[in-house]
């Protein structure tokens, strides 16, 4: 597709004047994909009074922003947002569009995919640009959409070789979020919006935001404990480490059953699936049910007194030793580095 578009778009979600973390993560990933495609990275920003969001988007690597600013667009609504994006896609034909796999992204992206007859892969855990042969035909520079499937039993690489536009959603915390070293003087292209009667078929009567009790799901660092932590007192040491690192605390099913931690904080197949940048597993043996909920962490540190514990098969760094003393050392060392 040498004559085709090389544009990578990221739909930028925002709340109260701040871009969602997942959008910044997608810009970081989108930057790499755009470089491989030798094309521009563009952000799609729909809302009202979004200057601060735009600034952040440039800081995370957008070359250009398509901004649709109108008071009627302050809050996300399916119909106007999807109509705007459908029109933009039809007119400008990007090569790739990335969305956060959020309530908004998953509401919006399928409508765009349906309208443009594009492929859409949900919950990708990795995205790459690469060549692929499909039906004996060589396709250059496809978006490789990698995701676990069938209850995590397999990892599939999905391609959309014949679609003009390739789309994917990605969950928060899966990709890294790194500002670019030298942000460009971003170009803002304003897109005109005229509300239509069809845009108003669904109205927001009330919107209620709740303070999150635990930020575990979106946490970039998680300190988790298992049965092997041994006591509530030792578990408090984990909490102290979490505080120092700015991490969220979590536990395995066994830790919940032992009363170390609440059910809302359980990670694993029957609890939450977390995808932090860093997961510190303390006294967790590494049963497959637990591993299912944390294996997508970018890095895993395992601390366990049993050198044969299966957790050491999935971790990147293994520390064999007494949990309580290793955690104390960890906390003290980190405090020293801060100084």
């Amino acid at each position: 597709m040498d004559d085709g578009s090389r544009e990578v778009w990221v739909f930028i979600e925002h709340h109260s004047g701040r871009p969602a973390d997942v959008s910044l993560e997608l810009l970081t990933k989108g930057r790499k994909l755009a470089e491989r495609l030798r094309g521009p990275l563009k952000g799609i920003l729909i809302g009202h009074e979004v200057d601060a969001v735009a600034k952040e988007a440039f800081r995370f690597g957008a070359d250009e922003l398509l901004v649709v600013d109108h008071p009627a667009l302050r809050d996300y609504r399916t119909l106007p947002y999807s109509r705007i994006l459908c029109e933009l896609v039809e007119e400008r034909q990007p090569r790739v569009i990335l969305y956060g796999a959020t309530f908004i992204g998953r509401d919006l992206a399928p409508r765009i995919a349906s309208n443009s007859a594009s492929g859409l892969t949900a919950d990708c855990t990795d995205l790459q640009i690469g060549d692929a042969t499909w039906k004996k035909k060589e396709h250059k520079d496809l978006l490789l959409q990698i995701r676990p499937a069938f209850g995590g039993n397999i990892v599939a690489t999905i391609i959309t070789p014949d679609a003009k536009v390739q789309m994917a959603t990605v969950r928060e915390g899966v990709m890294e979020m790194v500002p670019v070293e030298a942000p460009c003087d971003g170009k803002i292209t304003k897109i005109h919006y005229e509300p239509t009667a069809a845009d108003q078929l669904v109205k927001i009567v009330e919107r209620h935001r709740e303070e999150k009790r635990s930020n575990l799901k979106g946490a970039s660092i998680v300190v988790a404990g298992g049965y092997g932590v041994g006591s509530k007192k030792t578990f408090d040491k984990l909490r102290e480490l979490a505080d120092v690192l700015g991490a969220e605390i979590a536990g395995s099913r066994a830790a919940v059953d032992a009363g170390f931690i609440t059910r809302e904080q359980q990670v694993g197949q029957t609890g939450l699936t977390v995808r932090p940048k860093l997961y510190i597993a303390c006294g967790i043996s590494g049963a497959i049910q637990h591993v299912a909920g944390m294996q997508d962490a970018n890095r895993i540190i395992a601390i366990n007194s049993d050198p044969e514990a299966p957790i050491f098969d999935v971790c990147h760094y293994g520390i064999v030793g007494d949990v309580a003393s290793v955690i104390s050392t960890f906390t003290e060392s980190y405090k020293k580095k801060l100084k």
Binding site: H15, T78, F103, I104, R106, D107, P110, R111, A113, S114, N115, A117, L120, T121, A122, D123, A132, A149, F150, G151, N153, V155, A156, T157, I158, I159, T160, P161, V178, L201, V202, K203, I204, V205, R207, H208, R209, E210, I221, L245, K277, L278, I288, R299, I301, A302, F312, D313, V314, C315, H316, Y317, G318, I319, G321, V326, T329, F330, S333, Y334
Partner: protein, 294 residues
């Protein structure tokens, strides 16, 4: 007001029970090898539709796209209380991704006549994409409310729905027709009604009657016989729907499985860190350098 609903349901493999020969080499699923269940979210969607019908009147129609085996699922819909069920089935529908599925379902819905609401589960447990609902709404050019938690009110001119958002909830008012995808928490599906089960367990799809019939002529007679007793499950092929072959099934699916890998916990080895101040200090240095903190 009367409320006519169409509910999109799916029979799904029980993903907790997957064995080795389930995946074909091309990455598609050999569904015949799998135990199947009523997709949990779809059952809740059916319950919501039945509840509205019980309160306001109207009709509930359940439809599914699937193989012959999906007759089981439709009978379960009847046992719960669906007024009408339809099987959308064709060899050419196999291997459909969400785009091809939503095309096929939306074309079937267009033929089923006027409706006020379309219901679907939030997502199916075999793919977890949550895409078919919104894609069907787009193809039918109607609005959608995803992640519905509760239906608060239904009036002549519209419906009031509470839906989940990332950090809370919102209450939306929509005109009809509307497509709603529902969360599992939205309702508890009712049990099968014994009387309906007894009366309807002999309901059959055309595919099921084909097996019983000795000749095409006999099949037509069987169908007429079952239909007269209200036991024929209307069965639609691609030709019956009159829809484009190249937009159905694997042919009409832009997403292709390029490669699949089984998940093997990588024991490629990890870095051993000594449990000492120095060991942990070095680990922290490298993590700080890679911006893991702050």
């Amino acid at each position: 007001m009367k409320c006519n609903s169409i509910v999109m349901v799916k029979q799904v493999p029980d993903t907790s029970n997957i064995s080795g020969d389930v995946m074909r080499p091309d990455g598609t699923v050999n569904r015949a090898k799998l135990p199947t269940v009523f997709n949990p979210d779809d059952k809740v969607a059916l319950e919501l539709a039945l509840d509205l019908r019980d309160r306001f009147g109207g009709k509930v129609t359940a439809i599914t796209m699937g193989p012959a085996k999906a007759g089981e699922l439709l009978r379960e819909c009847l046992y719960m209380g669906a007024d009408e069920v339809h099987l959308i089935t064709d060899r050419n529908f196999g291997g459909a991704d969400t785009l091809a599925t939503s095309y096929t379902l939306s074309e079937a819905i267009k033929q089923l006549g006027p409706y006020d609401l379309i219901f679907a589960g939030r997502q199916a447990i075999d793919g977890d994409t949550a895409q078919v609902g919104p894609q069907t709404a787009e193809k039918l050019r109607i609005p959608q409310i995803t992640y519905a938690e509760k239906i608060l009110d239904l009036k002549e001119d519209g419906i009031l729905v509470k839906r989940r958002i990332d950090d809370g909830y919102e209450i939306l008012e929509s005109s009809l027709p509307l497509l709603i995808t529902v969360l599992k928490e939205a309702a508890t599906p009712r049990p099968f009604k014994a009387r309906r089960l007894m009366a309807l367990k002999r309901a059959r799809t055309r595919l099921e009657l084909e097996k019983e019939a000795a000749s095409p002529g006999e099949l037509e007679k069987l169908i007429a016989d079952y239909a007269s007793k209200g036991l024929y499950i209307r069965t639609w092929s691609r030709e019956d729907l009159g829809i484009e072959l190249e937009r159905c099934g694997i042919e009409g699916s832009p997403t292709k499985v390029h490669k699949i890998e089984s998940v093997v916990l990588s024991s490629e080895g990890h870095q051993q860190v000594p449990p000492t101040s120095e060991g942990i200090g070095n680990l922290l240095d490298s993590l700080i350098e890679e911006h893991f903190f702050g």
